[in-house]
Symmetry: C2
């Protein structure tokens, strides 16, 4: 494709992109498709000769777009959001054009230094103490794995890296029964084993019970285990429950355990001083992750990982073959040594664009608005009489179910709500997902999409009532 | 930012992008900067109020762009390339706009089914047998880690995932002394330990010596180890050496070892039938990775990971919490269970755009051209008399050094060539990097940038001679 063609096609795409964003509400949030519906529209073999871009773009619009779940539709209330925003998309266009590898300072000095700065900004914005240093990871899954590996190495004096596990390494890891699946995945990858992951019971608010944590640790110590690491969730995936950081931190200090905080979704709320109660006790925390790509209007992937001990992180991951050696006399950050992957996109650029375009106050305003919308809807659900709130609503996730006035068994309620969810999502007018709380099928509605406003929430609530009631 | 502003700014960006790509040769390939030069131009604190996009874009052009290494400059001969291309950038614009999470079929059906198709296309294009199934990973580092973890779990009957390492798990991993650093990193992460990674000696072509591999395996077995996995490189990072797959595969079969192929860079050459000799012996291979984001004109990240046993892969990584359960009656691919990260970008789209825009023949033509340019330059270097080719040139990496006619010691040659590289890169007219081969400082020149042509290679060679000779 010649450059003038690229210019023309890119302008065409921009108009499509702006139209899409303007009219994204016209698309069903979740498409009605059966497995294979897209596949059968795609040729089984690659074309031998190049095709005109117009054909490719046509197929994108006619085959791909109708088969997408539209995560940027403001009526997307499912999972946790994966937000984008105009400044973030603009940054992605430039990132793709520069197409630089940001694995070390020498391979892209400006990208490295911008990442340092952007992470300092972010640390300040969410109220983390100055002792934390940030680096961008792709996902919170990766960051949590990095944390557990760093804990493993720091504890073993880096001998598992060198010699592997030996019988003296009998370590245990702790998280609540509501913690994210990535903790279990990391424990497996790191060779610790799922059997050595203790899922600590939660209280009525689905937050980790510190006394149960301490009991588990003491039991493990008595059995000859060395408690390695605790993962505290600020905002569980099920119900955005907030583990009590100060109490957990005190236990970690007492027993010498590493403390990682998974604030993947909820961390963005820390831009609000009134939400900083969540990180009371941060002094005991070793590592902290939250995802600007979830609720801070920055395209995936952009996960902000903060560590107190950069040397431990680097010692865990650093490898310096000859072909990667560079000649800066001064000390620079080579982020390839700060995580698992060698190659790295220029992700700091989108964070910089987003923070500058919104300003701290602009981000705060959006987040406050989402929290207010949530509290408003939660009040309506409570007031409705035939619905039930299933968990506290500390932030912007509402866990609820339909509970009609005539007496019903739990199994029937589960079926009723699962069916309600299917019918709601089949409308294409909104998309929400579910979890189980206390064994009960629970609808989950998260109000955090970049462009969600009162109208979308009101329409969702009207639709929920309409389809729930006979 | 309102939508009409987004539209306007995005059009402005497109013009900048097209201009940048048209004039990328005007930028120094590698900037002349000292650590901190960018940082001191960036405010220490985030802005409280939002800034106009024009200011942000100005700073991008005036602070960031001059501080970048320009990977898309055709005179970029360093490392391995991280190519982009016009259709790939166009796809990235759409990917950022849809901003969909492609972790499971339900969260983006079209993305999942396009990924299946695109990976089938790619498998066919590079001549892998039909028994391989593909999935896109972010990097070859991650893919190699996935392979080693799958081997670990398949060997232990998935008990390391569940119970962790126990004393009966005495496993060893093998790669050549020229293998990529990601192998060592993966062995550490997986809890196997660097001491159990055997770096097998290489022959004069820097390829793994099969007899040395077999000796190492037999020695380990005699010492009570269980040989877990061999990583064969098709195209080492130092010199693009090709490990002998058939001989290595036969040894793996004999001793029951898993065989992973790291063809991260060189795998793209398999689009040419005349390069398929590299995968003779593919029948014994369990997993295979190559990066379209290196030499197949597709923006990073897009690493193509092919496995023979999808069930083993999924069993290694699958975790199904309630909040991720979906209701498709039929079997679908949920790619979150095919690797480490949960969140995934819509990477298949750029692969689809690139393959269709170039066509298979168009990609073949580019790759053949790069190989021909390389052979042409290698001949010139050989003929020059005062330069020395340091390794075979099976593909498009030339390892060479300046060796003036007067006799010199090895230490002096090392210094001379290190200095030559610094002076070459300081011109900004080209960028190449180095490795060590047989202990000698060796210049490495890779001809694989999307838009490189004979002129760039000729200019590089003229510059090399000019700066080398007194």
């Amino acid at each position: 494709m010649k450059n003038d063609e690229f210019r023309r096609h890119a302008h065409d795409l921009v108009d499509w992109m702006a139209d899409y964003l303007e009219h994204v509400e016209r698309y069903p949030v979740k498409p009605s498709l059966k497995p294979g519906d897209i596949t059968r529209q795609l040729p089984g073999h690659p074309p031998m000769e190049g095709e005109p871009f117009a054909s490719i773009f046509d197929d994108f619009r006619e085959i791909i777009v109708p088969g997408m779940t539209h995560w940027q539709n403001p009526s997307f209330f499912a999972y946790f959001p994966a937000n984008s925003s105009a400044p973030s998309i603009l940054a992605e266009m430039l990132i793709a054009t520069l197409a630089a590898q940001c694995m070390s300072w020498a391979t892209s000095p400006a990208a490295t230094e911008l990442e340092e700065r952007a992470m300092e900004w972010l640390r300040e914005m969410i109220g983390l103490p100055a002792g934390f240093t940030g680096v961008i990871q792709d996902t919170a899954s990766t960051a949590t794995l990095c944390s557990i590996l760093t804990a493993r190495e720091a504890r073993s004096d880096y001998t598992i890296n060198s010699r592997g596990f030996t019988p003296e390494h009998r370590v245990t890891v702790y998280c609540s029964s509501e913690a994210h699946s990535s903790v279990e995945k990391a424990v497996k990858i790191a060779g610790i084993g799922k059997e050595h992951l203790r899922k600590i019971p939660v209280d009525a608010a689905y937050a980790m019970k510190p006394d149960a944590l301490e009991t588990a640790i003491r039991t493990d110590i008595a059995a000859g285990y060395s408690p390695l690491c605790v993962i505290a969730a600020l905002g569980t995936t099920g119900s955005t429950a907030i583990d009590p950081l100060r109490a957990v931190g005190a236990i970690c200090r007492t027993y010498g355990a590493w403390l990682h905080v998974d604030a993947a979704f909820a961390g963005t709320a820390l831009v609000l001083p009134e939400c900083r109660w969540m990180i009371e006790g941060i002094e005991e925390v070793d590592t902290f992750v939250f995802n600007p790509h979830k609720w801070m209007f920055t395209n995936f992937d952009c996960s902000a990982y903060f560590v107190r001990d950069t040397e431990a992180l680097i010692r865990t991951f650093e490898i310096l073959p000859e072909y990667l050696k560079t000649s800066e006399a001064e000390r620079v950050n080579n982020y390839r040594d700060w995580g698992i992957q060698l190659g790295r996109r220029f992700r700091a650029l989108k964070l910089w664009f987003v923070i500058r375009s919104y300003g701290v106050a602009g981000i705060q305003e959006k987040v406050r608005y989402h929290l207010a919308l949530t509290q408003g809807l939660a009040e309506k659900i409570k007031a409705a009489g035939d619905f039930e709130i299933m968990a506290p609503v500390p932030l912007n996730t509402i866990c609820f179910r339909y509970r009609p006035p005539h007496v019903m068994g739990e199994a029937e309620l589960d079926r009723l709500n699962a069916d309600l969810m299917e019918r709601l999502n089949a409308t294409g007018k909104l998309f929400l997902t579910h979890t189980k709380l206390g064994g009960h099928f629970t609808l989950r509605l998260v109000i955090a999409q970049t462009n969600v406003d009162a109208r979308h929430v009101d329409e969702a609530w009207a639709m929920i009532q309409q389809l729930a009631r006979p």
